[in-house]
Amino acid sequence: MSDSRAAILARLSKSLAHEAAAEAPEIVQRIEAHVRGPQPQWEASPRERFLNKLEKVVGTWAEVASKENIAQAVADYLAAQNLAKSLAVAPHPLLDSVDWPAGFRAERRRAVGEDRVSLAVAFCAIAETGSLVLLAGPDSPTTLNFLPDDFLCVLPTNRIVPRMEDAWALLREERGTMPRATNIVTGPSRTADVEQTIHLGAHGPRRLHVLLLQGGA
């Protein structure tokens, strides 16, 4: 296999008339400059834009006044959807103090095939497209975002950034490196593979519900 590596690189380098180098100054500079392309513009505030775009992709949302109200907001959603009071919850510090009412089975873990409902916390959200950004890690198992039918996600309002490039800036500032998976989630799962007819809930969640947490985390 190393022969193919050498052969491919040799052909490329010959055609480009230079010597291949992972540290070539022209690319290191180009990578590290983090220059942004043309930035789409709009009038609305990041919050307004985010909610508007989220609704366009059939995501739903509810306002939550404080951390103490998260359990109630989840209970309201489950009742409205007529779902059992059982869910997989991300081991995220923001959810440590959530006091689940009697009769709730809320387990702090990754999701498994049988889970119907999950609750996680977004790293941030992108207003431009109404997207949530979730970073895989001990406090945010990726399976929660994809396996259950109903995916509930807490989003502190001060974590809504205008564009994807702002999310990258935040990621570099707060984390430094990329997690195993960076999920940009925009609405529930969908497919148009049968006669170009859009149907929600192909393999991932059928419904996406955002709990908009006032103020900060």
Partner: protein
């Protein structure tokens, strides 16, 4: 798969007379075109983004060796492995080795056009692995034993009835029947069946829309979430990616993502856009233990710097297919290999040989719509003409066409002779048309006259008319 591109003419004939296919194509075509139009009208910055996207790709291609090395170093730094493959065979060997080393039995596959290109499913099945396509469209064509007919909507040629029939045959045990009439019923059926496969798979294979040199990440965009499940649940994640997919950094990906979804499905962004970077970390509660990237060349390094260099900018959005009058009429299977439409007519002869792919560059009116809608401004018509030029130069053109072209070239290079000959031909044809002004059938032109009349030339040659009018 064994290409049948050489038989394009027969394939196209069959497709034009296939009523079910024509129904499916009619349904699909308009939808894609309208949705893209609306998405682009909704973003005033689209043209600026398009230019920026082209600059990103041009810059990356001009430093492709550097960026690939950088990408490789970053994948390794995050705990992943990179495998280089010059040929489809080498790529398949790399995948098989990884699967064997992992003692795998079942492989869940997300949609990958490079996977189709290297025929990885055939290789895996021949080696005794069970492979399940998990993108709904890919799953449908897998169980129908057909190749994809569109690069982003692989089962676009299938009607609801045909899909229901396939599921009925394959899934339904006696005594266990779920209704399979509506689109939701069909999608739910696939969801239930494939969910079991995801959970039982040892290896997940996905493609990559972009590779990020800065971070060693691979990017996929999906709407179903199948790619993410394939990359999260199994113990091993293999990414199949061709070498031109690399871009410098995350900001570059942001530019290209804005172009990709709009050009492909008319969405602003797909439901899921995911950046994978290495295997699960020590304290991660889920994710694969191994992360492999197989970098596939398959002729691309030879395209760099040559006549087809600009094709390496392609981001596989499918807009050129959706806007092509030929693709819209005959569908993807007529092209006889993995990539159909204008981009396929450029790539196929490069990957399976001009001898086999010869008819594809000729099956175009060169109307230019593909280049117009291409988010990467790839001069597809110019490259189709280049294929035709090389076809002629390498004497692959059939003798009759060669003689006709040679005869025409002889006259075209001798203007006075050309005019005289035209004059005679006009008179002769007018005489033969017998005052009708048209031919119902004509020798050597049956392909034309079978479906329509051939008009007889009117009046005199252009040059003669020009002289006439310039006289005071």
């Amino acid at each position: 798969m064994k290409p049948t591109s050489h038989a394009f003419s027969n394939n196209a004939h069959r497709a034009l007379h296939d009523k079910t296919l024509q129904q499916a194509l009619a349904k699909a075509g308009v939808g894609f075109v309208d949705k893209r139009r609306a998405a682009i009208d909704g973003l005033p910055e689209f043209q600026a983004l398009r230019q920026a996207g082209k600059r990103i790709k041009d810059h990356t291609l001009a430093n492709l060796d550097h960026y690939l090395l950088r990408f490789e170093a970053q994948v390794q730094a995050s705990g992943g492995q990179v495998h280089w493959a010059e040929t489809p065979e080498q790529a398949c060997v790399a995948v098989l080795d990884i699967c064997r080393n992992a003692n795998a039995k079942m492989v869940a596959k997300g949609k990958s056009m490079v996977g189709e290109e290297i025929a990885v499913n055939d290789a895996l099945e021949a080696a005794g692995f069970e492979v399940v396509e998990t993108d709904l469209g890919e799953y449908i064509i897998q169980i129908a034993h057909e190749p994809p007919s569109h690069i982003i909507a692989p089962a676009v040629h299938k009607t609801r009835g045909q899909i229901a029939e396939l599921f009925e045959k394959l899934h339904h045990q006696p005594g266990l029947t779920r209704p399979l009439e509506t689109v939701p019923q069909i999608v739910d059926e696939a969801r239930q069946v494939l969910r079991e496969k995801f959970l039982a798979s040892d290896v997940g294979i996905t493609g990559a829309n972009f590779l990020i040199a800065e971070t060693g990440s691979t990017v996929i965009v999906t709407n179903e979430g199948n790619g993410d499940l394939s990359a999260t649940l199994p113990r091993v994640h293999i990414v199949l990616a061709s070498i031109e997919k690399v871009v410098p950094n995350l900001e570059d990906a942001a530019v290209l993502l804005r172009l990709l979804a709009r050009s492909a499905t008319g969405q602003e962004i797909t439901s899921y856009t995911t950046f994978f970077t290495g295997p699960r970390r020590a304290d991660d509660p889920d994710g694969p233990e191994q992360f492999h990237v197989v970098l596939v060349d398959n002729g691309r390094s030879r395209m760099l710097g040559g006549d087809y260099h600009e094709m390496l900018r392609c981001i596989r959005c499918g807009a050129c297919l959706n806007h092509c009058p030929v693709y819209s009429a005959v569908g993807g299977h007529a092209y006889g290999w993995v990539y159909p439409g204008p981009m396929g007519a450029v790539l196929t002869p490069l990957m399976v040989g001009l001898q086999e792919g010869r008819p594809l560059p000729n099956a175009s009116t060169l109307c230019g719509r593909c280049e117009e809608v291409c988010p990467m401004s790839i001069p597809l018509p110019r490259m189709l003409r280049e294929h035709r030029r090389q076809e002629f130069a390498r004497r692959l053109t059939p003798p009759r066409a060669r003689w006709a072209l040679a005869a025409w070239a002889y006259f075209a290079r001798r203007p006075e002779l050309y005019r005289q000959a035209s004059r005679i031909a006009i008179k002769l044809l007018n005489l033969l048309a017998g005052g009708n002004g048209r031919f119902r059938s004509m020798l050597f032109a049956q392909a034309w006259t079978a479906a329509r009349d051939l008009p007889a030339p009117q009046g005199d040659t252009f040059m003669a008319q020009w002289k006439q009018r310039r006289k005071p």
